[in-house]
Amino acid sequence: MNTLETIKNYVTSNISYELANESDFFELDLVDSLFALQLVTFVEQQFGFSIEPDDLDIAHFCSIAALHRFVEAKLG
């Protein structure tokens, strides 16, 4: 499974709505801050890198596509 599919599977398995990759699930009020923390832990565990203070921008965590771009950039 590639990075995008892994992220998409995780997010959609946690949100009971159909989501486009660019849908901002925080703006749509589908999730709360607990889910933000959940996503941070998921990304660290799944992709094996530490999220640094400078990475903690909600813009990186607000949609499947944003998460994908962030993870790809971190993985270099």
Partner: protein, 381 residues
């Protein structure tokens, strides 16, 4: 459950139990009535390594794992919710700094915080917002290479004495987290007297009147103040409160069982009466389920499971309810003595009431936990 504890965990529990009985329990009622935690208690907590017990050894902390830290919190919470609240705020704020602080901030603050030489408080709640996380009226404005901070905070645990404050404000519409030192010009605190519960937690109102804050004291990025920094701190706080609430329930069970066994009514021991049996059974059942959810949250945290924060909220939600219920039953079993200042029973009830409000009210947790329930159901289908 106890049989699952390792030798190391059992040793930690034994040490903290002895410490709590020796250093805190004898003065717990006095802490409540005087509304002050004596300096010698705080010093003993620091010198014995309990204040920084869950913080990394690299920085001078105790390096306990989440379950060990939970056991410690339960033992402290069993004897004094006020002292437990010191551990809670100190640990939750330091954990946020550990996670999101810059290298410079960590190097500057973590050694003294982890060793308990300095204490840190968490300043989020404001007079007009009643704890709503997204409504912050405290603001910063740019001032050269730093900020000017203006606003008010309230219900700040150990705000009367903390050395450092993790303060949440808005920069424009974006939330920011800042480290502010006591003694900064324009920073003042005002004690809150006669609160209902955790009366020894030295609550304070804080006023910031254009307090100068260096840019290097901002924790995390602009915009990350609430979603990440405050949320992480509150997650650690809820974990601590959950175990502390379980400690209150255990204290209620122990006191009520002892009282019902030794007191008689109509020539038979209270415990022989079926209505008393029912109350004791309910306390036992609830105390057991609260601890089970705390253990479950500990397991999620130990394996750094992504659902740990939600499971922690669930444990806090249940344990806070349980503590209140247990204390209500304990008062009923003790009758008039349950209302007396000579016993800690009334204190348990007042402290348990507070646990239903702090680190996210029960109603706020219902909102996030119902969302978690939907996610959980969806993930399992």
């Amino acid at each position: 459950m106890n049989s699952d504890l390792t030798e190391s965990q059992l040793a930690v529990r034994s040490r903290i139990r002895d410490f709590a009985k020796t250093h805190i329990e004898p003065v717990a009622n006095e802490i409540d009535t005087a509304q002050v935690t004596p300096a010698f208690v705080i010093m003993a907590m620091a010198e014995n390594g309990w204040l920084g017990a869950a913080l990394p050894t690299d920085w001078g902390g105790g390096g306990l794992d989440p379950l060990e830290y939970g056991l410690v919190t339960e033992e402290i919470g069993r004897v004094s919710s006020a002292v437990r609240s010191l551990m809670t705020v100190h640990n939750m704020s330091t954990q946020a700094l550990l996670r999101f602080g810059s290298d410079e901030q960590r190097a500057r603050w973590l050694p003294s915080l982890c060793k308990g030489q300095k204490t840190i408080a968490f300043a989020l709640t404001e007079p007009d917002t009643r704890g709503a996380i997204g409504e912050i009226n405290t603001v910063v404005e740019k001032d050269g290479d730093g900020y000017r901070l203006t606003g008010k905070k309230t219900w700040i645990t150990y705000g009367q004495i903390a050395d450092l404050f993790l303060v949440f404000a808005r920069e424009g519409k974006m939330p920011v987290a800042l480290l502010v030192e006591r003694g900064s010009p324009g920073f003042t605190t005002e004690p809150i007297v006669d609160p209902l519960g955790t009366r020894g937690s030295m609550l304070a109102k804080i006023h910031f009147d254009r307090v100068r804050v260096e840019m290097s004291n901002r924790v995390g990025k602009v915009g990350a103040g609430l979603s990440f920094v405050a949320s992480t701190a509150l997650d650690h706080g809820r974990y601590s409160v959950a175990w502390g609430a379980t400690g209150i329930a255990r204290a209620c069970l122990e006191a009520s069982t002892q009282f019902a066994t030794h007191c008689t009514q109509n020539t038979s021991a209270l415990i022989a009466h079926q209505l008393v049996q029912r109350r004791l059974t309910n306390i036992l059942m609830h105390e057991t389920t609260a601890r089970a959810l705390c253990y479950r949250a500990a397991q999620f945290r130990c394996r750094q499971d992504a659902r740990a924060a939600a499971e922690t909220s669930l444990a806090k939600y249940h344990a806070a309810d349980v503590a209140f219920d247990a204390a209500t039953n304990a008062v009923a079993i003790h009758g008039g003595m349950g209302c007396s200042a000579d016993l800690p029973i009334a204190r348990y009830l007042r402290d348990a009431t507070v646990l239903n409000i702090i680190e996210g009210t029960q109603e706020m947790l219902q909102t996030s936990l119902s969302s978690y329930a939907a996610r959980k159901l969806h993930a399992e289908q």
